[in-house]
Amino acid sequence: MLLGLVVLVVVAVLSVLVGAGDLGWQRVLKEIVAQVTGGRSPLSGREAAIIWQLRVPRVVLAGLVGAALASSGATFQGVFRNPLADPYLLGAAAGAGMAATMVVVLLPATTGWVIGPLPLAAFAGALGGVGLSWALGRSSGGTGTATLLLAGVAVASFLTAVQTFVQQLNTDTIKQVYTWMLGGLNISGWREVWIALPYVAAAAVVLCLCARLLDVLTLGDAEATSLGLRPGRIRLLLLAAASLATAAAVAVSGLIGFVGIVVPHVVRMLFGASYRVVIPLSLIGGASFLIVADLVARTALPGELPLGVVTAFAGAPFFVLVLRSVKGRAL
């Protein structure tokens, strides 16, 4: 755990050192040390602004989004007892995608909003999608996870259909929508950090505190009940917390796939399947992974790569590597 935090800090600092603007990593390191120890800054005001107003918030935001997606993914896998569950399973992605498309189509040029309409719509759409799935699952009379899962599939395909339809009617906006959906942190600043932080932090606290209960849930509802718990309530709490974090992540970064599935599984394979380990290490691992992925996205080529492409491109081989090295021992 401690080692994980050290890795996270090292990764974060390293990725602040590198980037466009060619400041020289030694000078950036000196600047960071100067800021921490209260020494004299070696950089000009403009250069310092690049560090503290562009790179640092972007790294922080990448960490927040990665932590949110990985811990939510782990939670979804536990609640649904399904290794392929990801945080978008209950319609968070489809809801956010549809809402974002609507905004792009209906509000073509918007200025003067405190928070851009796109993140706001994505946040509301993600929560709306999950809420709709939950309501639908409840009204079908099912209390178990199977009904909820099916409701999620239905809601997701419906919302995706609506989105595709709207998009086809407005082909001129396809590129803008598509760019957003591929995910990225290229417009991030401290404002986005403050948007996402409260939700991600609150969810992280709830998920860490409930990790033991999530272990009990994996025994199934009958045994959880016989151990004195109310599985339905715990599920609601866990899914609400995870979905809130996911919605916040989607709002500031678009749809970034793969993190929610790969990171928790790598953690399981390396450190065991108890959620008391998986949840905190997914927070740390997800943050580290996305910081590195974003570093690649902004430095590998002269232009920016979509972050969602990088996570899959780098994540898939890494996943295979870990899978082979442990021979599927912990799956």
Binding site: D215, L219, L229, R268, G272, A330, L331
Partner: protein, 259 residues
């Protein structure tokens, strides 16, 4: 007469309003072993689930004389192992058994030193110490059944509800597990209520039998009272002989029809 660990009066239970079991009356004294027997579909597991509180049921269910226990209070008095428990394959045996401490912890609390020592104690009594760090996936059938029993025993309850604890075990492993349950019962004064499909095992380990058929009590009493060949033939549609072994144990033996 010993005080009652469990008293059922006119208990009924079933899925969504359709009663599978009805009109069950039975008393189990503290330290006793009641085996619920009956043909497939008789409602054995349903009755056990209703007593465990994992399936809605009606009628009077008194646990140590108390009827209105909260879910958590109940979980401190009564441990339940389903017929096919879900084992989270990646968990270690220790982590799995620790989950049995849940009813004794605050909702968000962690286990303390006392919980860990209880789990150590249970693991050593069930001869699982050597497997403590292994994941559940790597266990054999017999080891898995012992791990499930350890999880229930870690709950430290005075009443154990075990649904077919010998499922999938060969005759030797089944016997070893039942001997173990019987030893724990005698050492701790625990009361055991189990469903058992093997009538010979039920006759030799349980002190009382409850024979269910079609969701109703067909017979109730000591094994020799309940298990007559006529009754088994009537309720199981099987040709059997009920024998007494040379060492005085009851055995229900199937015989070829017409032979």
């Amino acid at each position: 007469m010993k005080p009652l660990a469990l008293r059922l009066r006119d208990v009924h239970a079933g899925y969504s309003g359709d009663p599978v079991v009805q009109g069950v009356d039975v008393d189990v004294p503290e330290g006793g072993w009641l085996a619920i027997v009956g043909p497939n579909g008789a409602g054995k597991s349903t009755l056990l689930k209703a007593v465990a509180g994992v399936l809605p049921g009606g009628g009077e269910i008194l646990i140590h004389g108390q009827s209105s226990l909260s879910r958590k209070e109940k979980a401190r008095q009564l441990g339940y192992a389903p017929q096919d428990p879900v084992l989270p394959e990646g968990l270690t045996v220790t982590d799995y058994v620790l989950l049995g401490r849940t009813p004794h912890l605050g909702t968000l609390a962690r286990e303390g030193a006392r919980d860990l020592s209880i789990v150590d104690d249970v693991l050593s009594r069930l001869d699982l110490e050597a497997l403590a760090g292994r994941t559940l996936r790597t266990l054999s059938g017999g080891e898995r059944q012992r791990a499930v029993l350890a999880r229930v025993l870690a709950q430290r309850t005075t009443l154990l509800l075990l649904d077919e604890p010998t499922t999938g075990l060969d005759i030797g492993h089944a016997q070893a597990l039942l001997e173990l349950i019987d030893r724990l019962r005698r050492e701790d004064g625990t009361t055991v209520v189990s469903t058992l499909h093997d009538l010979t095992f039920a006759a030799q380990y349980a002190e009382q039998l409850l024979l269910l058929d079609g969701g109703r009590v067909a017979a109730s009493g000591t094994p020799s009272e309940v298990l007559t060949s006529a009754r088994v033939e009537q309720h199981y549609a099987a040709d059997v002989e009920v024998l007494t072994s040379t060492r005085g144990h009851l055995a229900v033996v199937p015989v070829r029809p017409g032979s």
